[in-house]
Symmetry: C2
Subunit: 336 residues, 2 copies
């Protein structure tokens, strides 16, 4: 076995370690949240620090939990690399840093705004990546009591015992007229610059195309079944793996926001590619595998075969129909 | 005691009955959802029926649960009136039907689209109304294990023992620059007509105003902390009562979508008024009490006093700041 090979047994052991780590870290998040509720609140309320702007708050808890996760990983797997949201954000580089080495990619607290406001959609997200592929993903949303985990070759799981996607015998194909009939998940994000053709304007134009009645918007109307925004890219992906969201389209988040979710979604049978539409070749351009550091993501839920299409074909058809309705976003990045 | 008076003891008894009814109905919803998951799925999957359009699906479960709730209420309180989402929708009238008599207003399944896709944000919503005031509200989201309940004079509660709002000693005032710093909850809804100045266009314009950077949008930019869309008006209101969402602005939903949530939010200390801005008198127009059948709602979370303002003053200030950023929506309705 070459130095950077990982055996099945070793991967399973890393998976068990990651599951325990995710549960412990999630409990830390919840304990700190509970300390802010009710009578115990004022005395131990955490101070918040401001980063870029008012939308981009980071809590002390965030840093504490990342330090805990990093120390546990370093103690157990000293040779592995570590990329965490908090430590990365404090660094000066915005380059994509993940290479072929075994790497942990961690968001100690995804849905920070939700967490600050105690809206339950927050979670810890832990991924193990090897040769640039997310092989293990663990997501724990402690206020929801929802735990998601997957390891390549071991299936994707909700709350330890429910296989994902939830509906699975058979897994439904994508709707015939997708995006019509689909639940569309998207995020407004932090980039709120009011520029006529800026990212916010392009996102909103894309959302409206997906939402509008069929035939509307010069034929771009997608008449999705619902538009949802949770404020957590990680949980968006978890719900795509569940099959609850059909389509997630997003630009601007980072590898630690998506690595665990991608591992879980791929193991559940989903498809993840780029949010960036290959105008004007939406019908013919290759559907590339997602690049983890691209900051541009399009995810499609697990889909089963129909009499006329394989599940993969219906996913790819949906990707192309989304591409026809969305704008290119500007999130260039060195190294990705 | 006059015929239509309700004593404290009687109201408490009705509250206990409503709590049990909500828990039982929620368990029915969850049992039917679970039957669609995993191996048990295909054989007992419920048939869906189409109403107005693809976005407006109604499940058999919806009807079964409403029939169950109605039968329980009729058996226990035969003199009370009943307005339920399913039975109303099948009737020919679109008038507002609630008068001063004791009335139950029920949505057996709020978040129907979520339920169809097994996204956990669905719930049962039961309100008891007297003299046109929602006095009791019970909301149960069984897939989230989240239960909300309130009765006038008895406080508002999460999962039976946690008082609402969650942060309460002290309850934080509204942010100084609200809507900046606020989590803004809104819904795309079912009305997706692509008309240049239709409801969808007006909603989206309002959402973008609330989201855009301060100074943007000709001064209308609100730079909210986050924009959230859950697909359940009932749960939106529950999270406003929790204090997790600061502002909910919505047009188009109905009294059974909001009655229980309003009861809970008011008991928690929130403010509910109309979504309809009194242009150009946003700064001076009276802030009227919500009209239950108005289909136009603006809710503000519970807020505590600051050194310079009462909680109520900070809520009213927030109402006026929202009104300056949102459009009037067209949801006229007889009787409301």
């Amino acid at each position: 076995m070459a130095d950077n090979d990982i055996s099945r047994a070793e991967l399973d052991e890393i998976y068990a370690f990651a599951i325990q780590l995710g549960k412990d870290a999630g409990r830390m998040l919840m304990a700190a949240a509970q300390a802010r509720m009710g009578d115990a609140g004022s005395s131990i309320q955490k101070a918040h620090v401001q980063k870029m702007n008012a939308v981009d708050l980071v809590t002390e808890t965030d840093e504490d939990v990342e330090a805990y996760i990093k120390s546990q990983i370093t103690a157990r797997y000293p040779a592995h690399q570590f990329v965490g949201e908090e430590s990365y954000s404090k660094g000066s580089s915005r380059d994509y840093l993940i290479d072929d080495a075994p790497t942990w990619c961690v968001d100690p607290l995804d849905g920070t705004v939700n967490y600050i406001h105690l809206f339950p959609m927050f979670c810890v997200s832990i991924a193990f990546i090897h040769r640039s592929k997310p092989l293990i993903g663990v997501i724990y949303a402690p206020f929801l009591n929802q735990f998601f985990a997957a390891c390549q070759g071991r299936g994707a799981w909700f709350n330890d015992s429910q296989a994902l996607p939830l509906v699975r015998n058979p897994v439904p194909p994508m709707p015939e007229k997708a995006p019509a009939g689909c639940v569309f998940s998207c995020e407004w994000g932090k980039d709120r610059k009011d520029a006529p053709d800026g990212n916010m304007a392009r996102k909103v134009e894309s959302f409206v195309n997906m939402a509008a009645e069929l035939g509307g918007r010069q034929g771009r109307g997608g008449m999705v079944h619902g538009v949802r925004s949770l404020g957590s890219a990680t949980l968006d992906l978890a719900y795509v793996a569940m099959g609850s969201f059909d389509i997630w389209w997003e630009g601007g988040c980072w590898e630690w926001d998506v690595a665990a979710g991608i591992a879980i979604l791929l193991e559940a049978g989903g498809l993840v590619t780029t949010a960036d539409p290959p105008h004007p070749n939406e019908d013919t351009a290759p559907i590339e595998e997602v690049r983890l550091g691209s900051r541009l993501y399009l995810a499609i839920r697990p889909a089963g075969d129909s009499p006329t299409e394989t599940g993969r074909q219906s996913q790819e058809r949906t990707v192309r129909e989304v591409w026809k309705r969305v704008r290119n976003l500007d999130y260039n990045r060195p190294g990705a």
